[in-house]
């Protein structure tokens, strides 16, 4: 299951949906907002999502991970809106009968999410500058 949230993420709440007496391993990943990126000090950031397609693509990734790695349940929650340093940007939980499957599934999901799911991050820097991350790859840097 995939969820976009405007509010502080609450992993303890999400874990409840994954509980399963037949599962021996649970792996979770949290992406935290770092205070530095590419040598610049970050004050806060903003995520926005193309919601309908993000949900479809994330659901597809979850399905792939379950099939590839024999995982049981996988949930993804991604924050949108304004985030402060150290807040959780994304939470992923994966369960499986054995732990190796849960590790593989969880890592696959975050790796794929980062390259496929239409969510964008804008970083705001101490020097007043800001920019959409990876837009140096688009050969243009935006200054507000």
């Amino acid at each position: 299951m995939f969820l976009l949230s405007n509010n502080t993420l609450d992993p303890e709440e999400y874990i409840k949906e994954l509980k399963d007496d037949s599962c021996g391993g649970y792996v979770s990943f949290e992406g935290w907002v770092r205070d530095f990126n590419e040598g610049k000090k970050v004050t806060h950031l903003k995520y926005e999502a193309y919601q309908v397609l993000a949900e479809k693509e994330a659901q597809q990734i979850i399905q792939e991970a379950i099939e590839k790695f024999d995982a049981r349940k996988i949930k993804i929650v991604h924050r949108v809106g304004d985030l402060q340093i150290s807040e959780i940007a994304v939470w992923i939980g994966a369960t499986a009968v054995h732990r190796g499957e849960a590790f593989d599934a969880c890592e696959y999901v975050i790796d794929q999410l980062k390259i496929r799911v239409p969510i964008w991050k804008k970083e705001y820097y101490v020097d007043g500058d800001s920019g959409w991350v990876e837009c140096h790859e688009c050969k243009k840097h935006i200054h507000d």
């Binding site: 994304v90 239409p118 969510i119 990876e134 837009c135 790859e137």
Partner: protein, 80 residues
């Protein structure tokens, strides 16, 4: 003339200043429409660096536009 709904996100939206528009166009393909709006808003990105979604699914740049289609041009993603 076709009427196409276009949504803008992230770095593109910063340039368009609007989230979405309904555009009347003679463009035949998704790529032709992108080149049209690129001129209008001064996007500095080649289509090769973007992806396109039609009616909420990923699509190809040579997709043949139909009246009433909903398009989104997607900058490189950076979630997670």
């Amino acid at each position: 003339m076709k009427s196409i709904h276009i949504q803008y996100f992230a770095v593109l939206r910063d340039l368009t200043k609007v989230d979405e528009e309904q555009r009347e166009t003679n463009a035949e393909t998704a790529l032709e429409l992108y080149e049209e709006v690129r001129q209008v808003f001064g996007f500095d990105f080649d289509s090769i660096n973007l992806r396109v979604a039609v009616n909420d699914s990923f699509s190809e740049w040579d997709y043949k536009l139909k009246d009433g289609d909903k398009l989104v041009f997607l900058p490189p993603v950076s979630g997670g």
